[in-house]
């Protein structure tokens, strides 16, 4: 029996079951949908049933690259300058501090751990550690979004949303630059580009591509026509980056930011991007799960250390950031817990790293990202809600019950 057929058969069955089941769970217990697809991918992959073979996986490689590009564009599309200007400086300071601290601490800790555990020189251990740092920085906005839908936007929710956006910015930039710096020389070129030149090329694809695509899209407002040209633009940019062994995430993020800021049809562009987000995310998760294989090397300890360091750093850095900016009374000491959740971006970075044949400890890093998403995605919304609830209770603001319907006017707006 064709493995592709079985794959489709199982995917359809699992899709129906998972969707119905998780739809109910999301409603009843505030669980974010996503981890089930990852688990499904693991079950279909070579490690369990082997229904998704290596050839099937490689056949879908272009699609995965497109998915990475689409996720990158969505990250960039969050940065609409007029909206960003409405936030006060402390919000950014806290967010950047939290992101940078998480990245630096995780990268540093993992460099030392990899150097010690795998007996490798620190400069060799730095590359995978930086990737883990970037993955650790990324926080899932899905749980926070779910909470925002239930209890409405307020200071803490806005801080959380901005922090996840900055986390994504730092993660994508760090990872994109790493792939530029740690780049193998292309065969047959008289003088291979330097690390700086690769970084410029990576950013150039985004900036030049974003500008050209802005002109290409023009004032097109018909959603379906926009969909075609936007898909073409993202596919082209992602393909160009992947073709040069760069990360599609960074150029795509720049394209998203340029398009959303320069185009008069930004609402339509955002609508198109969001409309395909979930299908692309689900397929990415399935294939990410299928791509997983336990490392030949000791992977359990790095994964556990990663999880512990990440939880500690996210909580600690968020606390320190809020304390340094005098925001602890409003945000609370444990607001960083709402940033524990990991989702699509973490998987996208890990998968992108895994795709490169010269990657060091790729399976260890991929496993860490996978386990983190599996563990945190399910509970991220509940944790975020408890953070928001406790912050509001502390401030003496009446809030709706945990699972009660949200009124249109949020009491927290008074903050």
């Amino acid at each position: 029996m064709s493995s592709t057929f079985i794959l489709v058969l199982v995917a359809v069955g699992a899709y129906l079951a998972a969707h119905v089941a998780f739809g109910w769970l999301a409603k009843r217990f505030l669980i974010v949908s996503g981890a089930e697809y990852l688990l499904l991918g693991v079950l279909l992959g070579p490690q369990v049933t082997g229904l998704i073979s290596a050839s099937v996986f490689s056949g879908f490689a272009p699609f995965l690259t497109l998915a990475l590009g689409w996720i990158g564009t969505l990250v960039g599309a969050q940065f609409y300058l007029p909206s960003l200007l409405r936030y006060r400086a402390p919000v950014y300071r806290i967010a950047f501090f939290e992101a940078a601290a998480t990245f630096v601490v995780m990268a540093g800790a993992m460099t030392l751990l990899f150097g010690w555990l795998f007996e490798m020189p620190l400069e060799r251990a730095l590359s995978p550690a930086v990737v883990l740092g970037a993955i650790a920085t990324a926080s899932s906005p899905a749980g926070i979004g779910l909470v925002a839908q239930r209890v409405g936007a307020g200071a803490i929710v806005r801080q959380l949303q901005m922090t996840t956006a900055i986390d994504a910015l730092v993660a994508v930039t760090a990872f994109g630059l790493l792939l530029s710096i740690d780049h193998p020389a292309p065969a047959g070129t008289p003088r291979p580009p330097t690390a700086t030149e690769w970084a410029v090329i990576s950013v150039g694809i985004g900036v030049v591509g974003g500008t050209l695509f802005h002109l290409f899209l023009g004032e097109e407002r018909k959603i379906d026509r926009l969909f075609i040209s936007l898909a073409g633009a993202i596919i082209l940019a992602s393909g160009a980056a992947a073709y040069m062994r760069l990360s599609p995430l960074l150029p795509a993020m720049l394209i998203g930011a340029i398009l959303i800021n320069t185009s008069g049809n930004r609402q339509e562009i955002a609508q198109v991007l969001v409309s395909v987000e979930r299908p692309i995310y689900f397929v990415l998760l399935i294939f990410a799960g299928a791509a997983w294989q336990p490392s030949d090397r000791a992977w359990i300890l790095p994964v556990i250390i990663y999880l512990l360091v990440r939880i500690a750093t996210k909580t600690g850095a968020a606390y320190l950031g809020a304390w340094a900016n005098g925001a602890l009374p409003a945000l609370g000491p444990h607001w960083g817990r709402a940033l524990w959740g990991q989702g699509g971006l973490a998987i996208a970075i890990a998968l992108n790293y895994l795709q490169h044949e010269y990657s060091v400890l790729a399976n260890v890093i991929f496993t860490a990202a996978l386990v983190s998403v599996l563990l945190t995605d399910v509970m991220s919304a509940r944790v975020a809600e408890s953070v928001v609830r406790s912050a509001r209770e502390r401030l003496g603001i009446q809030i709706p019950g945990a699972y009660a319907a949200t009124s249109s006017a949020s009491p927290e707006e008074a903050e």
Binding site: T65, I228, R278, P279
Partner: protein
């Protein structure tokens, strides 16, 4: 003009990055894929500006950027994108099936059967006669034994009668036409598609008996042909029923689900060895007719949206297969054959319409929608090339040249027919969904 300039800049940019890249991960195919979407979209817009169907623009983009043009897309790259074409065919078949209503079949089934039967028969006879009669002028038939001439004339005519559901459906969607000419044409094209699959299988078996190919695979048995057709209806009905149940009880993530249905149909047809088009066509028909009002349309909208870039690339890839130099070299023989084919379609449709008592618009204009040829004909030609490794390649070249002409002229003619019958506007197209109040999600008007 702005988009052409940007496309030229992107083309230049692509040329710059080529030496810096690697061949792995299919990323070059992705690069070509992205460029092809933008390129085809731009040429499609140019075609629209000069009042040509966009499909012609997409095909032209394929010729321009394909392996025989600027080589943005190499032959190997086109091969890597083949799954996209298959997915497009599956989507087209499903959507074509979803356009059919049981009520309509009950009311117009006999009319469609009569018109389709007559048209196919007359066209087949004319094409067979032309090739047989002028064998001395056809390169691969000159001096060939009688049995071989008969076999190849039979195969040629069996493929040359094929129409294009893809072009028909795309044009209907682009123009928003839903009148008697549009529906009759679609009905004939879909019916003839089923008939041609049957007929081609028989023709290939007869041809093999008349002129056994050297070192070719065994002919398909009658049982396998019957299963290919009957099984397709069965499998399609089960799939359609499943989709209808999903729409009734789940009805979420329709864009994802729409592509999943097409992909699933593609795989299940391959696995069960049943005819792909008929499977998806039946599935679309069953879903649409089993679903509650609005449910099927909702899925159709989602499918149209997710299929839009796929279709653009599908037609561009079809265009990329056209070897302009080859078409020009064979023009002296292909053009007369194309004219005879068009004349036979006209005559067959007239006769069929008279026999079935069809209305004046159908009688006058339906033939114009039957000229187009595309994916199915190309697929059948490749089967012949495979079955007859020596002469089959020449026959295939002749057929592909004929398809190239019909693929270009057909959409233009069909649109003219729809405009002349007042079923489509001469200018800007209108939304083309059955639910007129729904958002404007026309299939290729993007």
């Amino acid at each position: 003009m702005r988009r052409v300039l940007i496309l030229a800049l992107l083309f230049g940019g692509m040329r710059l990055v080529v030496p810096l890249g690697s061949q792995g991960q299919g990323s070059q195919a992705l690069l070509s894929f992205g460029f092809l979407i933008l390129g085809a979209y731009t040429v499609g817009e140019i075609a629209k500006a000069v009042r040509l169907p966009k499909i012609v623009g997409y095909l032209a983009a394929g010729v321009i950027f394909g392996p025989y043009g600027l080589e943005v897309l190499s032959a190997a790259g086109a091969g890597r994108l083949a799954p996209i074409s298959q997915l497009a065919i599956a989507l087209i078949a499903y959507m074509a099936g979803a356009e059919l209503r049981f009520q309509e079949i009950r009311e117009r089934g006999v009319l469609l059967l009569k018109m389709t039967g007559t048209e196919l028969l007359v066209t087949f006879a004319a094409l067979f006669g032309v090739l047989y009669g002028f064998q001395a002028y056809v390169p691969f038939l000159q001096g060939a034994p009688e049995a071989q001439v008969l076999a190849f004339a039979l195969l040629f005519a069996a493929i040359a009668i094929v129409h294009s559901p893809a072009v028909t459906l795309a044009l209907l969607s682009e123009t928003g036409a839903r009148g008697p000419v549009a529906r009759t044409t679609l009905g004939i094209v879909l019916l003839s598609d089923i008939a041609v699959v049957l007929f081609f299988s028989v023709a290939l078996a007869v041809a093999r008996a008349l002129s056994p190919p050297t070192g070719a695979t065994a002919a398909p048995s009658l049982g396998s042909v019957v299963w290919e057709i009957g099984g397709a209806v069965l499998v399609g009905a089960v799939l359609g029923g499943g989709v209808a149940l999903y729409l009734r009880y789940v009805r979420r993530e329709l864009m994802f689900f729409a592509v999943l249905v097409a992909f699933f149909g593609l795989e299940i047809a391959r696995f069960a060895h049943v005819e792909l088009l008929l499977t998806l066509l039946t599935a679309g028909f069953v879903t649409e007719n089993l679903s509650r009002e609005g449910e099927g349309i909702e899925l159709l909208h989602a499918m149209e949206r997710s299929a839009a870039p796929i279709f653009v690339v599908f037609f561009a890839l079809s265009g990329a297969k056209i070897q302009v130099t080859q078409v020009v070299a064979l023009a002296w023989i292909v053009v007369p054959i194309a004219i005879v084919r068009a004349g036979a379609i006209w005559a067959g449709t007239q006769l069929g319409a008279w026999w079935a008592g069809a209305g004046e618009p159908e009688r006058r204009y339906a033939w114009m929608g039957l000229i187009s040829q595309a994916g199915v004909a190309i697929g059948l030609a490749s089967i012949v090339a495979e079955a007859y490794p020596e002469q089959g390649a020449l026959l295939s070249t002749l057929l592909l040249s004929l398809v190239a002409i019909n693929e270009t002229v057909g959409p233009i003619l069909f649109r003219r027919g729809l405009v002349a019958s007042n079923e489509a506007p001469a200018g800007e197209p209108v939304p083309a969904t059955a639910a007129s109040a729904a958002p404007p999600t026309t299939l290729l008007d993007r």
